[in-house]
């Protein structure tokens, strides 16, 4: 049974068997960009989407938004199929693409006016407050903005209509650390609605994600490798030196990594602890999961 939207435990974003084949005319290689992605992201979650370049992060976000044709499987945003998002759902949705979709000849104010025509819920005061906090030069044409300022403008536009669900693809890659901090504050503070905002954010800046995420989604070669609450990862996941890959993996073992002399990733809720077990931060965890 699907919980009612807005009720505790409601699912903001769901995927079942989402698969995208690789179609490259110029390449003989075949394969998958996404393979059988299953996801249930609860309302109010802030999910860090983490993976190496080419793991499928952008394709996943685009598929969830219905911008990428999928070969198999399906997904839903706030109960509405990604391939047929209605206006009511679109009005509650914010997205910033990895390469900001801006109009070269328009300045920040003109972008807002354009958006206001499409989104009746756009709150100009909220948007301008966001722009001020992020220090976006709103009067300058988009093509005259630095990449960092373009990204900031794209974030302002993604949040300007106070969306309930926000998908952000590498939104802060070109921002300086001060702007990135302010961006993280803005994610939570600039809200009119009391409803918890659900956020999916892909980033390689894992120390930023460690501050704000409730969940992490590790993607590797188009598959979900680990989707978990981040507090659970910190409290329960440990790494242990282990030279040879144990076969089969013992109880509680999630992954064996060959790098660094061999390491075993363990879930302490299922595996007995040993003295040499080490806790690991998000970067360590990403390295273990990808080697």
């Amino acid at each position: 049974m699907t919980p009612t939207p807005g009720a505790p435990g409601a699912i903001a974003l769901q995927a079942r068997g989402l698969t995208v084949h690789r179609h490259e005319r110029w390449s003989l290689s075949s394969g998958h960009v996404l393979r059988g992605i299953d996801l249930d992201i609860p309302e109010g979650a802030v999910v860090g989407l983490v993976g190496r370049n080419g793991a499928g992060k952008s394709t996943l976000l685009r598929a969830l938004l219905g911008l990428q044709t999928v070969d198999e499987g399906s997904s839903q945003l706030m109960g509405c199929p990604s391939t047929a998002l209605d206006d009511a759902v679109k009005a509650r949705l914010g997205y910033a693409a990895q390469t900001p979709d801006l109009f070269a000849g328009l300045n920040g104010y003109e972008h807002l006016t354009q958006m206001a025509a499409v989104y009746p819920g756009l709150d100009e005061r909220l948007a301008l407050a966001l722009a001020t906090r992020l220090d976006v030069p709103m009067g300058r044409n988009a093509n005259a903005l630095s990449l960092g300022d373009q990204q900031k403008l794209a974030v302002v536009l993604a949040l300007a209509h106070d969306p309930d669900l926000v998908l952000l693809d590498e939104p802060v890659a070109s921002l300086d650390p001060i702007s990135r901090r302010e961006f993280m504050r803005v994610l939570f503070s600039a809200r009119r609605s009391e409803a918890p905002r659900t956020v999916v954010i892909s980033s390689h800046l894992l120390s930023d994600l460690e501050r704000v995420v409730t969940h992490v989604l590790f993607l590797r070669e188009g598959r979900v490798q680990l989707f978990s609450g981040w507090d659970d990862c910190t409290e329960c996941l440990r790494v242990r030196a282990c030279a040879e890959a144990p076969r089969p993996l013992p109880a509680g073992a999630l992954h064996w990594s060959a790098a660094q002399g061999g390491r075993l990733l363990l879930d302490m809720r299922l595996a007995p602890a040993q003295a040499q077990d080490q806790p690991l931060g998000m970067e360590d965890l990403m390295e273990v999961l990808n080697t």
Binding site: S207, E210, G281
Partner: protein, 135 residues
């Protein structure tokens, strides 16, 4: 007039091996158990703590809710969170010592890794304590 909240005292380390909400829980527990914060003292709001540290407000709520469930804090209508009235006699030494357990475990583990004998560790600790006594 209501007393203003205590200034945000939290020192948070997002890269630490302890989750952020746990860090907040432990720091409040220590300040309350040690008497630094008295019953009725108001905590900084969820929003204020989240803003200052650029963290998710839900993390702060999670910590405060857990402290409320433990009876360390109480929710006040319209005000936010305050330190709960303490049971008579204050916090027993045993309870305060229990809060030091993680630090003690880490100390013992590091001493073992360094091959320091228990007697030498005790002596070093005593020396440190004696230093602290003389201002």
């Amino acid at each position: 007039m209501a007393p203003s909240p205590v200034p945000d005292p939290f020192e948070l380390n997002p890269q630490g091996s302890t989750p952020l909400y746990r860090q907040i829980v432990e720091q409040v527990q220590r300040r309350v158990a040690g008497g630094l914060w008295q019953p009725g003292d108001e905590l900084p709001s969820v929003r204020a703590v989240a803003e200052r540290h650029a963290i998710n407000p839900m993390t702060v709520s999670k910590a405060y809710s857990q402290l409320e469930a433990e009876g360390v804090l109480e929710r006040r209508r319209g005000v936010g969170m305050a330190v709960a009235p303490r049971p008579a006699g204050g916090t027993a030494t045993a309870d305060r010592l229990a809060l030091l357990a993680p630090a003690l475990d880490a100390l013992v583990q590091q001493a073992r890794q360094l091959g320091i004998a228990p007697g030498a560790l005790q002596a070093a600790l005593q020396e440190r304590l004696d230093q602290e006594d003389t201002p």
